[in-house]
């Protein structure tokens, strides 16, 4: 079966795109899939750091596109998972060195040999974002339960619909059930109510995410971490399994929370 090509994007920066790509890649590869992830954030690469592969980079995606090396030469094999590869971004080039048709060509060469191609998108809706979604069969939009992040996610979902890349599926990242309970954070239902798209995962706020990212060993390796479990669940859903969602109850109405968040109470 040809690969599923999946792009993770968000609109707003810093909501967890790179974290999600690294963890989904680890979770899928631990589960027997052949996975390639592509860092599409040209000029600000960091997927390699989170995967702990920084010091193995020789060639990058721009080298492949400009013909300085073969595709296989730019694919770095993971230290622990032999079926997981990374194609790193170029650190010193700008996003205009890559075009949407370059991405299509590159991904086409991977489709027959792997099960999943995961693409990390830069923030925003400019050139880098358009490169990242060009080859996607499916787009996962990730957001935090914050008003501004949700608004940017909404904008990106609208653009994806217009580009026939929809329907997007949604990951809500960094949900803090205690804050939701106190009506100090939007709940998953509030976010879904606005965005009206399919939910594919809710990842709780978890300090292990930061600790393990710094170590270069994504949290999906850690059987005890809640966030790791959430990413493993998303990976199973990507393979078509039905996995129940983490039960994070919320109390109070949306408007109570919005009013409190807006300081209008």
């Amino acid at each position: 079966m040809p690969a599923q090509v999946i792009t993770v994007t968000s609109g707003k920066g810093g909501v967890g795109k790179t974290t999600a790509v690294a963890n989904l890649a680890v979770a899928l590869a631990s589960n027997g899939s052949k996975v390639v992830c592509i860092d599409g954030d040209i000029g600000l690469r960091n997927l390699d750091v989170i995967l702990g592969l920084e010091n193995r980079i020789v060639y990058d995606i721009v080298d492949v596109i400009e013909g300085r090396c073969r595709l296989k030469q730019a694919m770095i094999r993971d230290k622990k998972l032999p079926e997981l590869y990374l194609i790193p971004a170029a650190q010193t080039r700008d996003k205009n060195s890559v075009s949407p048709s370059d991405m299509n060509r590159l991904v086409k060469d991977l489709r027959n040999d792997y099960d999943f191609v995961l693409i990390d998108s830069p923030a925003g809706i400019e050139r880098g974002f358009r490169n990242a979604i060009a080859a996607a069969d499916r787009v996962l939009v990730i957001t935090n339960p914050e008003v501004s992040a949700v608004r940017d996610a909404d904008r990106v979902i609208g653009i994806l619909e217009a580009e026939d890349k929809g329907p997007a599926a949604l990951i809500i990242n960094r949900l803090n059930p205690a804050l939701v309970k106190k009506s100090d954070m939007l709940s998953a239902d509030d976010v879904l109510d606005l965005l009206a798209v399919e939910l594919i995962g809710i990842v709780p706020e978890d300090e292990n995410v930061i600790i393990s990212s710094n170590r270069g060993a994504p949290v999906a390796h850690d059987p005890k971490s809640k966030a790791g479990q959430a990413f493993r669940n998303i990976a199973r859903r990507l393979k078509g399994e039905k996995v129940p969602f983490l039960d994070l109850d919320s109390s109070g109405s949306l408007w109570e929370r919005l009013q409190r968040l807006a300081g209008r109470k």
Binding site: P100, R130, R151, R155, G158, E161, A162, E163
Partner: protein, 227 residues
């Protein structure tokens, strides 16, 4: 003023330039137009540009590229007019206007709504997501939600069969009789003519409401009831 290139026509509007392209291949037109700009940089620099692209089908990629290339040349693209619904949709997503009124100097502002006739409405059967801007010289009817971050600016009335949580400006050319109705009226901001109201109180169990300017000249919303 008329352009020198046979494909491209350039006219002066009151508040900028209107450039009309035709249905020849997009890349050819884009390159020809940019070449023309580069040949007369002083004429174009600082211009507000409305672009009529005939029935070209343009996606976000193409419009964003063009907008970037124009902005590098000091030109701000604010409107894209098209016969293609896809292109219109793309322009709206990018927050560009899709209609330009071409007022002649002798036309007074008050006439614009009446000129169109009371029947002219734009009907949108979808949810307007954040970043979308709809500008229309008549009434606007939305069958769907208007999300926070989306904007509608209409010279006539605005009716939302859904939740209104974005910004709506009705009677944008000064018509104080314009109204705004929604099944759930919880906007970030409402405007009618020159009156502005910030975030109406959100309701737990929304009922249809209608907002208008009352006898005291203030913007006010009241529940709709039959009869």
């Amino acid at each position: 003023m008329t352009g020198t290139n046979s494909l491209i026509q350039i006219k002066g509007l009151r508040d900028g330039l209107l450039v009309s392209l035709d249905d020849a291949p997009w890349d050819e037109q884009r390159i020809a137009f940019l070449a023309q700009v580069d040949a007369q940089p002083d004429f174009f620099k600082g211009a507000r540009l409305a672009l009529d692209v005939a029935s070209q089908v343009l996606h976000v990629n193409e419009l964003v590229d063009l907008r970037d290339q124009l902005s590098e040349r000091g030109i701000s693209l604010w409107a894209v007019i098209s016969e293609s619904p896809t292109t219109e949709n793309t322009a709206q997503l990018l927050g560009l206007a899709t209609r330009v009124s071409k007022p002649r100097p002798e036309e007074s502002r008050q006439f614009s709504v009446r000129d169109l006739g009371d029947e002219t409405a734009l009907f949108l059967e979808r949810t307007l997501r954040s970043g979308t801007r709809i500008e229309f010289p008549g009434h606007v009817v939305v069958f769907g939600d208007v999300n926070p971050g989306a904007e509608i600016v209409a010279e006539g009335n605005v009716i939302i069969w859904g939740r209104l949580r974005g910004m709506v400006h009705a009677g944008s050319k000064g018509n104080k009789n314009a109204v705004i109705c929604a099944l759930d009226l919880s906007p970030t901001q409402l405007r009618i003519a020159e009156e502005v109201a910030a975030a109406l109180n959100p309701q737990e169990n929304p009922k249809p409401e209608i907002a208008r300017i009352n006898e005291n000249g203030k913007l006010q919303a009241e529940f709709w009831s039959p009869g």
